[in-house]
Symmetry: C2
Subunit: 202 residues, 2 copies
């Protein structure tokens, strides 16, 4: 019994199983480097059978990317509105982001890189959602500058990209079986990243 046959025996819905397999393969080999035959083989059906459950390869990607971005937005958005200082918000957001990456490293890679293969309205939607996510971090930094917690001369655009760049690189190296938990990794990264943005260094 293959892993995927076992998954079916455990009553995972076929469509969900296809999405899980596609997430794995798109994350590891990329969207263009993955064929529907690859997905079908790992799911344990013949290629044509996939189309009883999904419309197209691109629909699969759109769903993975869309839900993936939303899981990042869903965990960081509440932090923006919370009642703590900007540096504490930033620390919480960094830790939360690493936590979402750790939930699914391959899904994170699809969210960070494979969205480029979407087209038309789906591409526009993915770009808009990604911008919304970056805006959450920008809002925290702008607040920090306004309250004096962060450097007055902070270039918020570059600081957001510096922090998000470091965070978006984590799926390249984070491993669940490492010595540090995802929360620990987030703590360490926050401690590395935040002091350079602060107004006061003590």
């Amino acid at each position: 019994m293959s892993a995927m046959a076992a998954a079916r025996a455990e009553l995972i819905a076929p469509r969900e199983l296809i999405l899980n397999v596609a997430t794995h393969l798109f994350g590891v080999k990329g969207y263009a480097g993955t064929s529907m035959r690859d997905i079908a083989h790992e799911v344990g059906v013949l290629p044509g059978s996939l189309y009883a459950h999904i419309d197209s390869k691109e629909t699969l990607l759109a769903e993975i990317v869309g839900e993936g971005i939303e899981s990042f937005i869903g965990i960081v958005q509440p932090i923006v509105g919370s009642a703590v200082a900007a540096d504490a918000k930033l620390r919480a957001a960094i830790i939360a982001h690493v936590g979402v990456v750790a939930q699914g490293v391959e899904r994170a890679q699809v969210v960070f890189h494979q969205w480029r293969f979407l087209q038309g309205a789906r591409l526009d939607e993915a770009i808009a959602k990604r911008a919304l996510y970056a805006d959450a971090f920008a809002a925290i930094l702008r607040e920090g500058v306004a309250t004096g917690m962060l450097r007055r001369d902070l270039d918020v655009a570059i600081a957001v990209r510096t922090v998000l760049g470091a965070l978006n690189w984590t799926p390249e190296w984070y491993r669940a079986d490492g010595s540090l938990s995802a929360a620990d990794v987030g703590e360490v990264m926050a401690t590395n990243l935040i002091p350079g943005l602060l107004a006061l260094r003590s």
Copy 2:
């Protein structure tokens, strides 16, 4: 006269032109998302004609990735051995890295992401070179910890990945026509990234 026909008229060697076009397309659409026909079309020849100049699609990728990584190593390696303090080395390395990205944003994207499509010995070689590059940053940080310039409790592995993550994300957003020069962007990123690693905050 197409841009590529113009390039030929300017006496660019055919093989070099093919490499330039492949770098552009691999960077924008990915290796698997780019066909030899795409490359031939932009070069201005028929697909089969490419093979008078190159062996295979993968050889093209191997050459772009190999020379690309070497241009990063070549500029940062000398900084490691220079006669300044570790924080000055790190600042110089960050600025140098952004400079190499700015020389070719698309080439940088190929170096950072498309190396995965190499196989066998070429894949091993690319992985080894990438590790060598990360080691240059790790050596700077280890020296900084040893001299007391950087925090004694610094997790060097995570700090290297944090800094390199931020740097490797720059091709996602750096634009040559932006208001800041590459050197300016490097300066700002260094100022954002280094204080979190320092032992003394003043």
